[in-house]
C-alpha cells in the first residue's frame, strides 16, 4: 500500500501537524521507504492464539496511585493561566469565531 500526498495531509491533520507543501514530496517518499520494509511482516503466518495461557489470571495493579505533590503551581509553567484555568484561543468553529478568534477563553 503506497502512501499518497492526500494520506499525508490527512494524517498530518489528525496529528495536529502543519506540513508545508514543499515538504510533502519528501515526507511521502520517506514514509513509503519505511513502510516498504514493513511489508516483510505480511510473510509471517497468522499468530497461533495458543500459548498465551500464561497471561490467564495475571494480577492487575490498580491504575491509579497516591496523589503527587507539586513543588510549583501550574500557573508557574502554564503558557497562559487565569483564575485556576489554562487559557486557550477560542475554537474557530464557534459562532462568533471570526470576531473573537484572537480572544482567549478558559478551557
Amino acid at each position: 500500500v503506497a502512501v499518497t500526498h492526500d494520506d499525508v495531509r490527512n494524517i498530518a491533520a489528525l496529528a495536529r501537524l502543519a506540513v508545508a507543501p514543499e515538504r510533502l514530496d519528501t515526507i511521502v517518499s520517506e514514509l513509503n521507504g519505511i513502510l516498504g520494509h514493513m511489508e516483510a511482516l505480511s510473510r509471517v503466518p497468522a499468530l497461533d492464539a495458543a500459548g498465551d495461557g500464561q497471561l490467564d489470571g495475571m494480577r492487575l495493579a490498580p491504575d491509579h496511585g497516591p496523589a503527587v505533590g507539586l513543588e510549583r503551581a501550574p500557573a508557574s509553567f502554564a503558557p497562559a493561566w487565569r483564575d485556576g484555568f489554562f487559557l486557550v484561543p477560542r475554537l474557530a468553529t464557534h459562532g462568533d469565531a471570526g470576531a473573537a478568534a484572537d480572544e482567549e477563553h478558559s478551557a
Partner: protein
C-alpha cells in the same frame, strides 16, 4: 572525599573533557552551585553516597530543566521529581546535569537533539550512540561513574557499546517510569550506565522496585545485584543465537564476540547454539509499535498546559503551529508514521500484525529460556560507532538497533558490556536474561569484566 568534593571534581572533569556546548555537547542543563548545595544536604550513606550522577533530559527533576532534547519543552522545569530521581537522591546520589539526547528519545545517535549533536569522547568525529548518548558519553569521558538514561529500543545499550561503558536495560516493570516522559509506553524503561559492572549494579539497585505511582511496576523482590560479582560461571548455560551473528556482521566485531565467548567458556559456562527465528522481523515490528505509541503519547504537547506555545488564528491553528515549530524532523516523521499505521484501513495491516509478530518474538525467548538456557550472548551493535552525519536514511539508522530492540519488545532485561576495541573504537557484547533475572546478567557481566576481555583489540 566528601559529596561536595566529589561533585566539584566531577564538574572539573567535565570542564577538562570539554563537555560543554562547543565541545562534546553532553549536557542540556547543569548547575554547579545548586549541585554543590545539594551535595551538602545529601545523605552520607546509601548505594550512591558521595556519587555525582547525570540524568537523561527526559527524567523529571525539580532542580534542572526537563526538555527531552526538544524545543517544545525548552526551559521546562518539572513540578515534581521522577520516582527514580527521588530514589537516587535518597541513596545519596547528587544530580549534577541533565544530558543531551535525541529528541523525545527518538534516535540512535544523539544527532537528533534540538540542542545540537553530542560527540563521542573516544573519537569526537563519531556519534556516542543514542538516544541516551549524553549520559553514556559522560561516563565514558570519566565525568561520572553512574548515569541514567532510558531505553525504548536500545537507547542505553547501544550508546554504552559505542562509548565503551556498561549499559543496563532492566526488565519491563522492574523500575518505575513515573516521571519518565513517555515515548512508547509498552517499551520504555529507565536504564543505567556504569563505568564498571559494579557501578551499573549499584545504579540499578538504587532505583529498582515497585512503585505505587506506576501501575506497570511489578512487586517481585529485588535481587542483590551489587554482590553478584564472580569470576566463575560453572553450571551457567549461555545461548548463542545464530540470528545475531549474520554474515553481514562486522568481522572485527565478530572477532571480539568470539573472544568474549571463549572467556565465558573458560569461566565455566556452557555455550549452546540456539535460534530465535523471528529476529529478522524485530525492526519492522518495533518501527510500527513505537511510532504508534509515540503518536498517542506526544499528543499532549499542544501548547495548552506547558512548554512552547505559538499563537495562531484559533485553537487548531495554535495546536498546529506549536507542534510544527516545536518538534524536529525525526519526531514529526514518527508521529506521522504512527498516526498512519493506527488509522482506519491500515490498523490491521500494520499495527495488529506488528503486535502479533511481537508476541512471536517474545515466545522465541520464552522457548529458549524454558529449554534450560540461563542467558544469551550477542553483539550489542552490528559494528562500532559511526561518523557524525554518516547515516541520513531513516531506516538505515533504525537498523543500528537491530540487536537491541528484541529485548524491549519481549520485556526482558539486557546489558551491554565492553568487550574490547575494533581499532580505537569500543564494541559491546550483549547479555540477555529472562524476566527479572538481572542478577544472572550481572554475574555474567562481572565474569567478563574480571576476565579482562575489554583489553583486547581486533
Amino acid at each position: 572525599m566528601s559529596a561536595r568534593a566529589e561533585v566539584a571534581a566531577a564538574f572539573d572533569r567535565a570542564d577538562k573533557a570539554g563537555a560543554g556546548r562547543d565541545g562534546l555537547n553532553l549536557f542540556i542543563s547543569a548547575d554547579r552551585a545548586a549541585a554543590l548545595a545539594a551535595a551538602e544536604a545529601a545523605p552520607a550513606t546509601g548505594l550512591l553516597a558521595n556519587t555525582p550522577v547525570v540524568l537523561k533530559d527526559n527524567i523529571a527533576t525539580t532542580t534542572l530543566t526537563t526538555s527531552c532534547g526538544s524545543r517544545i519543552l525548552e526551559g521546562y522545569v518539572s513540578p515534581y521529581d521522577a520516582t527514580v530521581t527521588r530514589r537516587i537522591r535518597a541513596e545519596g546520589g547528587v544530580v549534577i546535569a541533565k544530558s543531551n539526547m535525541d529528541e523525545f528519545a527518538m534516535g540512535s545517535s544523539t544527532e537528533h537533539s534540538a540542542y545540537g549533536p553530542a560527540r563521542n569522547p573516544v573519537d569526537r568525529g563519531r556519534v556516542p550512540g543514542g538516544s541516551s548518548g549524553g549520559s553514556g558519553a559522560a561516563v565514558a569521558a570519566g565525568i561520572v561513574r553512574v548515569a541514567y538514561g532510558s531505553e525504548t529500543g536500545g537507547s542505553v545499550r547501544q550508546p554504552a557499546a559505542f562509548c565503551g561503558v556498561v549499559g543496563v536495560k532492566p526488565t519491563y516493570g522492574r523500575v518505575s517510569r513515573f516521571g519518565l516522559v513517555a515515548f512508547a509506553s509498552s517499551l520504555d524503561q529507565v536504564g543505567v550506565f556504569g563505568a564498571t559492572v559494579g557501578d551499573a549494579a549499584r545504579g540499578l539497585q538504587a532505583i529498582a522496585g515497585v512503585d505505587p505511582h506506576d501501575a506497570t511496576t511489578v512487586d517481585v523482590p529485588v535481587d542483590d545485584y551489587v554482590h553478584a560479582a564472580t569470576d566463575r560461571l560453572d553450571g551457567v548455560v549461555i545461548g548463542v543465537p545464530r540470528e545475531y551473528f549474520p554474515t553481514s556482521l562486522d568481522a572485527k566485531t565478530r572477532a571480539r564476540c568470539d573472544a568474549a565467548l571463549d572467556a565465558l567458556r573458560a569461566a565455566g559456562a556452557t555455550l549452546r547454539d540456539v535460534s530465535l527465528p523471528h529476529t529478522d522481523y524485530a525492526i519492522p515490528v518495533y518501527y510500527i509499535v513505537a511510532p504508534a505509541e509515540c503518536s498517542s503519547n506526544l499528543a499532549r504537547f499542544d501548547g495548552v498546559r506547558y512548554g512552547l506555545r505559538i499563537v495562531g488564528d484559533g485553537l487548531r491553528a495554535m495546536y498546529e503551529a506549536t507542534r510544527s515549530k516545536g518538534f524536529g524532523a525525526e519526531v514529526t516523521r514518527r508521529i506521522l508514521l504512527g498516526t498512519y499505521v493506527l488509522s482506519h484501513g491500515y490498523y490491521d495491516a500494520y499495527y495488529r500484525k506488528a503486535q502479533d509478530v511481537r508476541t512471536l518474538i517474545a515466545r522465541d525467548f520464552a522457548r529458549v529460556f524454558a529449554d534450560g538456557v540461563h542467558a544469551l550472548f550477542t553483539p550489542t551493535t552490528p559494528g562500532p560507532a559511526f561518523e557524525l552525519g554518516a547515516i541520513s536514511d531513516p531506516y538505515e539508522m533504525y537498523l543500528s538497533d537491530i540487536f537491541t530492540v528484541t529485548a524491549n519488545l519481549a520485556g526482558i532485561p539486557g546489558m551491554s558490556v565492553p568487550i574490547g576495541r575494533v581499532g580505537a573504537l569500543p564494541v559491546g557484547g550483549q547479555i540477555l536474561a529472562p524476566h527479572f533475572h538481572e542478577r544472572t546478567m550481572f554475574r555474567i557481566g562481572f565474569a567478563l569484566e574480571r576476565a579482562g576481555i575489554d583489553g583486547g583489540v581486533a
